[in-house]
Amino acid sequence: MIQSKSISARVGKVVVYTLIILMGLICLLPLLNILAMSFSGSAAVTANQVGLVPVDFTLAPYQKLLGDEQFWRSFMISVVRVILQLALNMVLIVLMAYPLSKSKREFRARGVYMKLMIFAMLFNGGMIPTYLVVKRLGLLNTVWSLVLPGAVPIFNVILVMNFFAGVPKSLEEAAIIDGANPLQVLMRVYLPCSVPVLATVALFSIVGSWNDFFSGLIYITKVQNLPLMTYIQSLNVNIADLVKGGASADTLASVAAISNKNLNAAKIIVSTIPLLAIYPFLQKYFISGIVVGAVKE
């Protein structure tokens, strides 16, 4: 009896560990496959011989990529937009979250501001009207068209606002007695206590603007101004266009031969490296961020 129970428990354990490892592998293997392809010879990649280990190991795709001026121009545009977006988002989030974290008694206009923000979160003018505003402001084809429309991430303002509301009142009162004005209270009392939530929203901002290709798709028409994701996306479409034009098997084969799959793989890897670089920090903070955001009273 006891024997059989411990056997079934052991079998259960094996099943659980196997399933978990399997789920991990399913997430990991496609990424490793791309990594291996980026280090493999063109012929081997085209013939689909590459699994998880590079075949005909070569650095040629990366050397070729180094010479791709547009890739690096787009890379730098993405870096610049991430920095601008981060700075703008953080300043606006903090400035708005602090007054909004006050009670209605301390800040009578709070209710009106909250209603305006929530309405803007729920409802929007849609793609074309927003496009026309960006166009009218003369922002098309500039990095500002990628940054300014997303200047206020409302959900993140609310996240930080909730966090600020939980900061002990006594700290603030002490600072006010010492003669600090609201801006000084925010800078010296609130910000130092709120590092985790600020890190969370900062990382959301970085990931969001690095990954966004849609703004580039609608606001940027000149290739030399494209951010990285939109640039990579435009390359994907070019190949897909050839394929979907009802091309014959022969054409498809020749397209595959010239499509430089290993070079594309190298592009994917390089454009992912910035995210991988901040991923450890992301992992440290986003868990607390998402739990706070999802289950709040």
């Binding site: 659980v16 606006l92 007054p99 729920l122 300014l148 990954n211 979907k244 994917i268 986003f286």
Partner: protein, 294 residues
């Protein structure tokens, strides 16, 4: 404290200005859905045509097709992602080897942070006619299939690749829910001789139920968001029949075909339904649980 409040207003000012310019002014532009808008005449010069574009929209067979596609894809993603996330959280909670647990978590959360632009190339690589999946099928003696160009396989492909990307991230709240279950309940169940299944079924799942319900209710607000980024990066005219969703349709009609008024009308329809759903869901969750979205 008049001075303090004016300081607060001053702090709100820059952000509100941005909202005015990039959220509220575009809302005024919605009138073009009721006009025959032309860029030359502008919003103030274009003739009003009432509900013409809405009538036209609902007379198109296309609109019902894209609404059906949007709902099928979005609901499919939600159901399977939730299911996978819950299963994953329950299984992961059983892992006692800390190193393995951390590693698996690191790996399954990662795809969430990658752009669909990147992931689409990976998906295309795997599932195209000459991709690895078809090669494996060929070796096993099955018929090869153009997953990305076939109307039967395209929706399942969208749903499953999205589940692949998101289930790990979605499991975070469920893991948090499991850790907050009172360990005393497990001890009591063990003393009563409950097996792992029984403990999972009678302690773990009921303990997660509130969070599962809450997340599902919040998902309802998103049933019209089938995932523009994913569909746009994976679809092609061969699979418009089952792959075209509201957002991709609005994009093609508006920016590619320059039907500004019609595209805005379709977008407005989506926004209004989305907003009604969001408010309804928020009211419901305020009423039935302690949590709310805003």
């Amino acid at each position: 404290m008049q001075s303090q409040e004016s300081m607060f207003n001053l702090m709100m000012l820059p952000g509100m200005l941005f909202l005015l310019i990039f959220s509220y002014i575009p809302m005024v532009g919605i009138v073009m859905a009721f006009q025959d808008f032309s860029a030359g005449k502008g919003i103030f010069g274009s003739p009003f045509v009432g509900l013409k574009h809405f009538k036209y929209m609902f007379s198109l067979p296309d609109i019902w097709k894209i609404i059906r596609n949007t709902l099928t894809i979005a609901i499919g993603k939600m159901l399977i992602t939730t299911l996978m996330a819950v299963i994953f959280a329950i299984l992961l909670n059983e892992i006692r080897v800390r190193f393995l647990k951390r590693t698996v978590q690191t790996v399954v959360y990662l795809p969430h942070f990658l752009s669909w632009v990147i992931l689409a190339s990976i998906v295309v690589n795997l599932f195209s006619l000459d991709g690895s999946v078809n090669q494996a099928l060929g070796k096993l003696g099955f018929e090869q299939c153009n997953f990305l160009g076939n109307n039967t396989t395209f929706q399942p492909l969208l749903i499953l690749t999205d589940v692949w990307k998101e289930f790990g991230y979605a499991s975070i709240v469920y893991l948090a829910a499991i850790t907050s279950i009172d360990p005393g309940l497990y001890e009591a169940a063990s003393i009563d001789g409950a097996s792992w299944w029984q403990r999972t079924w009678h302690v773990t799942l009921p303990g997660m139920l509130t969070v599962i319900l809450l997340m599902s209710v919040m998902n309802i607000a998103n049933v019209l968001n089938a995932g523009f980024d994913q569909v746009y990066n994976l679809y092609n005219p061969m699979v418009y029949e089952t792959g075209d969703i509201i957002d991709t349709y609005v994009y093609r009609m508006g920016l590619l075909n320059h039907q500004y008024s019609f595209s805005t009308a379709v977008g407005l329809f989506k926004s209004v339904v989305g907003m009604v759903l969001m408010i309804g869901v928020n009211e419901a969750s305020k009423k039935f649980t302690d949590a709310r979205i805003f």
